[in-house]
Structures are given as structure tokens and as C-alpha cells.
Subunit: 146 residues, 2 copies
DNA sequence: ATAATTGCAAATGCTTTGCTTGTGA
DNA sequence: TCACAAGCAAAGCATTTGCAATTAT
């Protein structure tokens, strides 16, 4: 059976269908929530935050389901998991272009940025050391200049 | 009372004394172990590894003490804690110059590298966004080129 | 002497999992 | 229909902590 693929899936639910994931009511709610991370680039919810918001929509969604769904979506390359220095994971929808994060250590605010120069440099360093870059993370922990 | 400071402390035990940390038998053992991370740049032990090695020297050292000591040393800026993508912390003695890490995703080997260009770029990016860089981490997850 | 440190075991916080019941395709 | 998903509660894992006993200065 040939699966129909939408190459320009605009929403995460469509991406799930494209990947052949079964769309339960719970998954629809969670996926809808995570879609907000596309427009609001400062929104990187953790499992608790996702669960709280999900329960507000449908109170029968358990935290176990949130954990399972978030893991599933990560494995399907639909969302990214980040572990900043706080001991828990935060999630956001996968974006076309790679970006890094700047974390305001006073407010906790997370700012995304894209910098081609630093992306090229990462690749160059890996190659120089005899490696091929597969994945990478760069986090800048900062305080506001006044 | 004026504390005597050794500005060029060659060993971690001296650094502990300089910072006014009480040197118990257990701490001496742990600190001695962690000193190995200075010469062996690929050695980034986790708490379990430190505890295993510590017990081999003095079997009455508990894992709680390892956790407490490692936290103490981190707060005293004597060692650095790293959290690579594996869900536990790894430690190494603080070095004069900042370095980043390249992790071989197949072997788990951790390689340290220093790159001035990327350090400058980190600072530049933070400033451009209106921030002052306080802390940062860059990890390259790679596979060997053949 | 005495304030700090230890060992032990219990508690924590985040995450995973076994099992039974429920449900999407 | 029926393989897969959900809910619940128990388990897992790294880490922290309360408390009584021990120890460094």
C-alpha cells in the first residue's frame, strides 16, 4: 500500500498522518498544543506544561500518555527534545532550519537564533577532528545587557 | 584570619584547601581520582564511576558522599559538571581555558577541543541579541569519518 | 569542643512500564 | 476485528535529604 505524503505539511497532525501514526483523541490534543511552538518561538513546554494544558481540553489525558506521545513524536522527527540545565526535557516542533538557544538565566526566557557562520564552523571543527557531524547543540546562558 | 592562597595550585587538594574546604578522608580520595581528568582529557567519569573507583581505595565511601562532594566541588569551581545526552552527569577538573566536547555517537568517546573562533562567535551572538554571555555549552555528536 | 561531614535508608522528581481495558483504521 | 493505544499504579533511575553517629580543625 502506497502512503500518500504531503511534502509541505503545514500542520503537525498532517505530519503524523504522513508518518502513519494513529491519531487518537489524546494525540490530536497534544499535537495541537505543540503546534503553538511554531508561531511562538519562545514557547518550549515541558511534559508537565503539556499535560496541564491537555487536561484543560480533555481531562481524561494521563501524564503517561503525554510521555509516550512526546517520545513517539520525537522518534518520528516531528518534534525536538531539548534538555537545558534544569533536569527535565522541553519540546518544540521541528523546524526546517537548525537553530540554537539563548537562555536568560534570570528570567528563564528561551530565545531562538540562527547563525550560519556558527553552523559552518561546527561542521568544519568536526571534520578537522576526523568526524562527520550528526547532531549538535549549542546553548548560551546569558544575562540581559543594560 | 587571612587565608593563604596558592595562585598556581597544581593539584585539586590544594585548591580545596585554598577554598577552605574541610578535607576528610573521603574527599581526599574523590579529589585524587578527579585529578586524573586533567591528564586524561577523555576521562569524564559519572558518579557511579567515581564511586566504584573510590570504593576500591576505601570501601566505606558511600555514594551519598560522592554526590555531596561532587556538588561541593562544582560550587567551589573546582570541577565542571557536564550533562551529555544520556541523562546523568559527568565531571572533570576545571581547566584554565574553556573547551567544548565532541562525542562519538558510536563509541561514546568524548573528545575535548578548543576553538577561539567559535568562542568569539558565541560572545558576538549573545551581544548582538542584547545579552552578556555568562555560560555556554557546545556539544558535537559525531561519527568517525573513514 | 563543636560545627561540619558521613552512612544509611527513605524520599524525591522525572520518566518508563506492566497490565487490563478501550479504540482507531 | 484486533493490533495498537490509554489509564492507572507500580517500578526505575539519578539524585537529594533527614537523622543519628562520627570526625576535622
Amino acid at each position: 500500500m502506497v502512503k500518500k505524503i504531503s511534502p509541505f505539511a503545514i500542520n503537525l497532525e498532517q505530519k503524523c498522518i504522513d508518518k502513519g501514526l494513529r491519531l487518537t483523541d489524546q494525540r490530536k490534543v497534544i499535537v495541537k498544543l505543540l503546534e503553538e511552538t511554531i508561531m511562538d518561538t519562545k514557547f518550549h513546554p515541558d511534559v508537565d506544561e503539556i499535560h496541564k494544558r491537555a487536561v484543560a481540553i480533555d481531562k481524561k489525558i494521563s501524564i503517561a500518555t503525554v510521555y509516550r506521545t512526546v517520545k513517539l513524536l520525537e522518534e518520528a522527527d516531528i518534534i525536538d527534545r531539548h534538555e537545558f540545565k534544569e533536569g527535565k526535557s522541553r519540546y518544540e516542533a521541528v523546524t526546517e532550519t537548525h537553530h540554537d538557544h539563548l537562555i536568560d538565566i534570570n528570567s528563564g526566557e528561551i530565545i531562538e537564533f540562527v547563525d550560519d557562520e556558527i553552523e559552518k564552523l561546527k561542521k568544519k571543527i568536526a571534520n578537522k577532528l576526523g568526524f562527520e557531524l550528526v547532531d549538535h547543540r549549542l546553548e548560551l546562558y546569558c544575562k540581559k545587557l543594560k
